[in-house]
Symmetry: C2
Amino acid sequence: MLAPSQSEIEERIVALRGGIGSVSGVRVSGVHAGIKRRKRDLALIVFEREQACAAVVTTNDVKAAPITVSSEHLATGMGVRALVCNSGCANACTGERGDRDARATAAQAAALLDVAPQQVLVASTGVIGVPLPLDRVQRALERCVEQLDEGLKAAHDAAEAIMTTDRVPKLSAYAFYHESKRYTIGGIAKGSGMISPNMATMLAFLATDFPVAKDDLQRLLTAAVADTFNMISVDGDMSTNDAVYLFAPQGSLAPPPLFEQVLGKVALDLALAMVDDAEGATKRLEVRVVGAQDSAQARAVARAIVNSSLVKTALYGEDPNWGRIVAAAGAARVGFDDRTWSLTLNGRTWVERGGIEALSEAEAHRLLEEREIVVTLDLGLGDARATAWGCDLSRDYVRINASYRT
Amino acid sequence: MLAPSQSEIEERIVALRGGIGSVSGVRVSGVHAGIKRRKRDLALIVFEREQACAAVVTTNDVKAAPITVSSEHLATGMGVRALVCNSGCANACTGERGDRDARATAAQAAALLDVAPQQVLVASTGVIGVPLPLDRVQRALERCVEQLDEGLKAAHDAAEAIMTTDRVPKLSAYAFYHESKRYTIGGIAKGSGMISPNMATMLAFLATDFPVAKDDLQRLLTAAVADTFNMISVDGDMSTNDAVYLFAPQGSLAPPPLFEQVLGKVALDLALAMVDDAEGATKRLEVRVVGAQDSAQARAVARAIVNSSLVKTALYGEDPNWGRIVAAAGAARVGFDDRTWSLTLNGRTWVERGGIEALSEAEAHRLLEEREIVVTLDLGLGDARATAWGCDLSRDYVRINASYRT
């Protein structure tokens, strides 16, 4: 069988509106438990059948209780049947009580759903160091179960319930066809600040109805995260609660390339939704590094640029200060060569090899007035490439973060 | 002979006002060359005799022309007789022309002072990617030579001439007595933004009249930089032009502990002057990490905390969000233990082991209203310690950096 061409593949992918609610066998809900004042703050995802689960979680030395409890549950090897997620409280740095509260939440959901506690994952996001108001969570969990549903409305509620400083809920889903059967991959996510190129302060829950072998599922999730969630940056910080979970019916075969491609689309949609919703952001910055010696070099340079406070403030001010981009690239210390690079800005040659400006300051300034800025940095060293996404650093970022409550 | 006690040592140290101008055998000047509009922008430091020189320079892959030319001159092993420094232009990413301009500046100074070009170092700071206006530098250099002088006024002029966004010139000097003779160590520095714990966007020129063997000089400078300039942070960025040079008459003996102590005081004065002059800063944050397994762990944690955008914005908002401090400590990924840490705030116990708050939110908020905040994080793991200094991240930081010219 010949591999399908790119256009043939694209034709077989259909965008859906319902996020994780578009995936058959998945029901979700989101309610107001009272952890936050007036907003939804408790989400439940339930799977009709036992799911294989792949996970990528924070590498912070400080891991919130729900992270460690969920890891323990996954380590039992039992198929996952549900995930409970609250916002408004991170349940991090909460000592033994935090651990007990996370276990109690899983146990209660398990009892309500008639599954084993180890088949339930938990996730939390919000303020660190404050105990989880367990009584409120417990009262609300019953309502969560009652309201479980498929489709857009329920997924929207769940996506809202996991938001912290997010302004909009984040959903993505696609259908695709494989051997004449229709499958879906969908997800919801939250994240708008404290996002760094190491998977920080974000949650994403992805599901598919395509059966996948467990090892393949982990490999595919790790690859998708590397190119999407790990390549976005808001402020370079890293949280105690970050997690991406991907659920699939247990299968025995490796999925086709099309599966990988659709998974990448869902992950990128959600990652870019975070960038666009970044705290105080007024612009999206896409940094394409090309001409690198290898992929690691390309990634390191692209991430250094989107992470630089000086690049981000210049972008906010629409200041065509390309020196800051080059200085940030050099600061990555991965063999950036001062003599071989060139820059383009939104497709126009900006600076040629050796630092010769091809655009006037006025022209460059005009291009920087756009909402979406694409900078391509050719390292002039090889053929590898990588893309990172970030945003500007505005006065509003400071305002939002100078006093953050639930 | 018994080693002197700490109080005996302190008694033999006298603070001086003249910075590098307090050091005998050193003459300095600072003039307006016209690189910047109305401010002094060209400094000259001249040594009566040939000097040994120790250097710590930027590790950015992109190194400005004056950095590479000065390294070349130092590598000849000839004693240094002068240093020329301009502000308003970094002479970085300026290709072959930048290299020629840096060499021409050194050569002209050498001719005016009747020394070899290799005995002159050059330094630049300012905007990247703009050629040095060599004609203006050359016209002004003669005036620099005419105005060379000892003392406070001349050192103040020179310290002003190397400023970029600095609001105040930075000088420090101390006299000390050794075997009944009086010696001095003094310096000037610039730096107020783009400062990171890896020696970024700062220049410091230090001199002493105490003769020191070359190898000892480098060892002592490296140690002093590690505890001072490398432990301050404004925004985590790193520049192409950073350099710290320490000049001393060539000696044959290792200096006494008192020398090391005074050198540390000069370096710390200048480093803290940068923190206090940080772009938009309203507060100084001192982070003392104690109870670490080793010094590397203590340093990494202290630096991670002062570098965190979320810690910095919370500080600006006087928001007692200790979770962000702990999350930043964990994000350093050097074995922070979630169960053993405790925090004090300006000397008061803030959070006890396991995350139990000892101060009410209102009390902690009141303590955060001070101008100087000292947070001590006890890792509870060992006996090593380190201190880092930073500042808050304010709306003014964004305003200043959104549109930065010379």
